[in-house]
Amino acid sequence: MRQSTNPIDPSRKSLNSTVFWRLAEDIPKPLQTGLMVASIAVPLLLWWLITTFGTIDPTFLPSPGNVLTAFGRLWSTGELLQDTVASLWRVGVGFAVAVFCSIPVGVLMGSFSSIRALLEPLFGLIRYMPAPAFIPLLILYLGIGEEPKVTLIFIGVFFFNSLMVMDTVKFVPKDLIEATYTLGGNRLQTLLQVIFPHVLPGIIDASRINLAAAWQLVIVSELIAATEGLGRRISVAGRFLRTDEIFVGLIVIGVIGLAFDLSFQYLLRLSCSWASQKR
């Protein structure tokens, strides 16, 4: 049996078939997992190779082994745990207060043009002032205790989060609101039973993004004046040229941040499964 001898190669005319360069499409699961592992493993391997076979001063670039040792040392003295708890506490309080305040403000701004007109210009202005630039003022007003650090996180999160929540509320379909009215719902019911549930996924997502900002701000605040905290740890280590400890601090900060992010994504899936198709 002879195969057809079509002179025109069909693949010439259409796009070349590809797995890796698929536009806006999923790739096979094993490939995805492999690439994700490589994304962490390759830099780690490079680091290990350079420090093992190169002649680099460990005070300039410590090897993974050095860092691991330093981690063990800091962990055993309890300093690392103490620092981590201190940083987490600051982020926890500052972020929680900011989110707690920004959600109602954002929902109101998105729902009512009047509130939006009242607050948006102010928020838009403050948003462009970098939160760390407030540090001198905060020290001046609130001293060097915990208050200025928590307040800094609040400032850094509250305005961004309010505006992002507002944006999600703006996208609630008008028909849905009108349908609620025709069903006899009043404004309060519409706000609580239609608008709020509809924007909940958006709120969680906005908060997730702003948590990253909060986590960065806590480190910044600790670099300047603190007696404990991960930022403080890095700052002190730098002063004594303990590069390995700086690495420990950075890695712990990164891992904790990633853990936060993943847990928020999990929360989103858990609470708003109806919206998962969109995201």
């Binding site: 379909p173 028909d175 009108e178 349908a179 025709t182 069903l183 006899g184 109806w274």
Partner: protein, 669 residues
């Protein structure tokens, strides 16, 4: 008869950013019976969804109101449930929860198990038992819309509103859902108003189809009754004998509207916002009693008040001269016979088509039919007497112009008694000022004309009035202000000022305290001169028919303003079109809606009236009748024409009126 839903003269105006306003809906008047299914159809942007939102209470009319089952609609409420095109389901709730949320909210007073029963019943009703616990995103578009319908029906609304409910669905699903909806509606005797683009959908589901014209100032263009018996089957309705004619009717309407839209987009003439384009106007008139508004506007300063400083009233010897004056642009505007703008636009006799429009009726009534005295002596007192005379003698009657109401109404009057005005007697044309002389010379045996030419013959003992037009059609439109369409496009502000000045003059004329003064103005030589002396009967005094009976007080013998007299209504324009066609003066335009929209400019009238603080609405488009009781339904002019026994061969043509030539516009700009 009281209706279930009354949409009472609704206007909806939206403010524009530049400080002006956009009139989306104008004078929508519509009644819906209980259990009726009404569709609103029209091009996008015609305001049908706005109307539906007003019905739902989501939007408020600027004027007018909605009464549902005896209560005014002011806010959204569960007695009117809306089904939206994009379903509007709460995505985080299951089908059952979506339906029950509505039921829990609206039917609070019912016991819990009763409410649950209702929810389950309606889930079964739309056949979603298997999907009851799924969330909207797991459903197809058709299923989602079924949930929305179930939710709407579950709260037992008095009125179901559907906003293009099946617009987002594929053809197959749409068909099935239409069938289901129809069944549900029939079984539950629901009253529904649906907005749709789909002609077949409208025909399948509706009892009546309301066709809306394009915005701005969208209004009801035509209403079709769909007399296909129920229950209907989707695949079988097409076999009904009237299905395709109804369908063609709708498509034709939509095409007319499309053409109209294109024309309006192209037509942007001179735009003059500040002041007027022209303040020196030549306005033609024929010396008759009902030229009073022109004389008053000139002499009492209404023209000047509206900035028209140099208006020259040009006295014309005949109506033909008036038509020629407009045609050759010797005249800017003229007081015309009511049928003249329509006939000139359609082209009558050998005249080419020339778009002429009217935005103002300046006078109603004021005519009579005069016969020579000899007939009175022979006992001719009624139409039937006249008919018997015709058997013996040849009779010649005169009117003033083929397109005049005298001609159309005299013919209608004769024909109603079985007299064919073309075969049983002779009809001729004589200009009004020459009527009496011709009667006296024995050239004609009678005529139909406006005053003072009837009273003059009566006063001189030459004739008697066998009928006034109040006996034939009281408050018929008689004289209108006519201008060329290109003239109004080039002089929109001037035209507006002119309409306003004459509107105020008309109001002045209908105050009887002013009548003596007006008569003395009209007696000036440049207007009616000495003949004004004969204008007293009807205008001021009681009307003497010259039959020996006591003069009769006819307060509306000349009607200039009262009872919304000045609005150039489309329905009466349509009657004129039918009569012009009946006597073969013009063809009947298949696209009559387009012709009427174009010639009878209710929008221009409305603007002028609004600016003067007067009511700006057209009268209701109900069927009306003349003296013989034959009903004229403005939705079925061809049926009316076919039902009239005497008439010439009916010519129905699609009449494409050439837009005013571009080069002409360019010169003027």
């Amino acid at each position: 008869m009281s209706f279930f839903v009354e949409i009472d003269h609704i206007d909806r105006t939206f403010p524009l950013k530049d400080g002006g306003s956009y009139i989306a809906l104008k004078n929508i008047d519509l009644n819906v019976k209980k259990g009726e299914f009404v569709s609103l159809i029209g091009h996008s942007g015609c305001g049908k969804s706005t109307l539906l939102n007003i019905l739902a209470g989501l939007d408020k009319p600027t004027q007018g109101g909605i009464v549902l089952d005896g209560r005014q609609v002011t806010e959204p409420g569960p007695d009117r449930m809306m089904v939206f095109q994009n379903y509007s389901l709460l995505p985080w709730k299951t089908v059952r929860e979506n339906v029950s949320l509505a039921v829990e909210k609206v039917l609070k007073t019912l016991p819990k198990d009763e409410r649950d029963r209702i929810v389950e019943h309606h889930i079964d009703l739309v056949g979603l038992r298997n999907a009851a616990d799924k969330k909207p995103r797991e459903l197809s578009g058709g299923m989602k819309q079924r949930v929305a319908i179930a939710r709407a029906l579950a709260i037992r609304p008095k009125l179901l509103l559907l906003d293009e409910p099946f617009g987002a669905l594929d053809a197959l699903t749409r068909g099935n859902l239409q069938q289901q909806l129809m069944q549900i509606c029939e079984e539950n005797h629901l009253t529904c108003v649906m907005v749709t683009h789909d002609v077949d959908e409208a025909l399948l589901l509706s009892d009546r189809i309301v066709m809306l014209t394009n915005g701005p100032e969208s209004h009801v263009g035509q209403i079709l009754d769909v007399a296909i018996p129920r229950p209907r089957q989707r695949l079988e309705v097409v076999n009904h004998p009237s299905y395709y004619s109804l369908r063609n009717e709708i498509i034709y309407f939509l095409n007319q509207q499309k053409r109209d839209k294109k024309r309006k987009q192209k037509q942007i003439g001179a735009i003059a916002r500040n002041g007027l384009e022209k303040v020196n106007l030549d306005i033609g008139f024929v010396p008759l009693t009902d030229c009073a508004p022109l004389v008053v506007a000139k002499e009492k300063g209404f023209f000047a008040k509206h900035g028209l400083e140099q208006v020259n009233l040009s006295r014309e010897p005949s109506w033909k001269a008036v038509a020629d004056g407009i045609r050759t642009q010797r005249l800017d505007a003229a007081q015309m016979l009511a049928g003249m703008p329509l006939a000139m636009t359609l082209g009558y006799a050998d005249n080419p088509r020339l778009p002429v429009i009217t935005a103002l009726v300046t006078a109603r009534n004021g005519n009579a039919i005069t016969l020579k005295k000899e007939f009175l002596d022979r006992g001719v007192r009624s139409l039937s007497d006249l008919k018997s005379v015709l058997k013996d003698d040849p009779v010649t009657l005169a009117t003033v112009h083929p397109t005049s109401m005298h001609n159309l109404m005299l013919r209608y009057w004769l024909a109603s008694a079985g007299i064919d005005p073309d075969h049983d007697l002779k009809l001729t044309i004589v200009p009004p000022p020459q009527m009496v002389a011709n009667l006296s010379a024995g050239n004609i045996d009678g005529y139909c004309v406006g005053e003072p030419w009837n009273s003059r013959a009566i006063r001189e003992g030459l004739g008697y009035a066998i009928a006034t037009d109040l006996d034939i059609w009281a408050a018929h439109p008689e004289k209108v202000l006519g201008v060329r369409e290109d003239w109004t496009n080039q002089h929109p502000e001037t035209h507006n000022a002119l309409v306003k000045a004459l509107l105020e003059a008309c109001e002045y004329c209908d105050d009887r305290r002013n009548r003596e003064e007006i008569l003395s103005l009209m007696a000036r030589p440049q207007y009616m001169g000495a003949s004004a002396d004969y204008a007293r009967p009807g205008f001021i005094d009681a009307y003497d028919r010259g039959t020996g009976e006591a003069p009769e007080s006819l307060l509306r013998f000349n009607q200039f303003h009262v009872d919304n007299a000045n609005c150039p209504g489309r329905a009466e324009g349509l009657w004129i079109l039918t009569q012009l066609a009946r006597w073969e003066i013009t063809a009947f335009p298949r696209n009559w809606i387009e012709v009427l929209e174009r010639v009878r400019r209710v929008d221009v009238y409305g603007r002028a009236a609004r600016e003067l603080g007067l009511p700006d609405n057209e009268g209701n488009r109900h069927p009306f009748q003349l003296f013989d009781g034959k009903v004229f339904n403005p939705d079925d002019p061809i049926g009316y024409l076919n039902s009239l026994e005497i008439g010439r061969d009916l010519r129905i043509e699609e009449i494409i009126i050439d837009p005013v030539s571009e080069s002409h516009l360019a010169i003027a700009v």
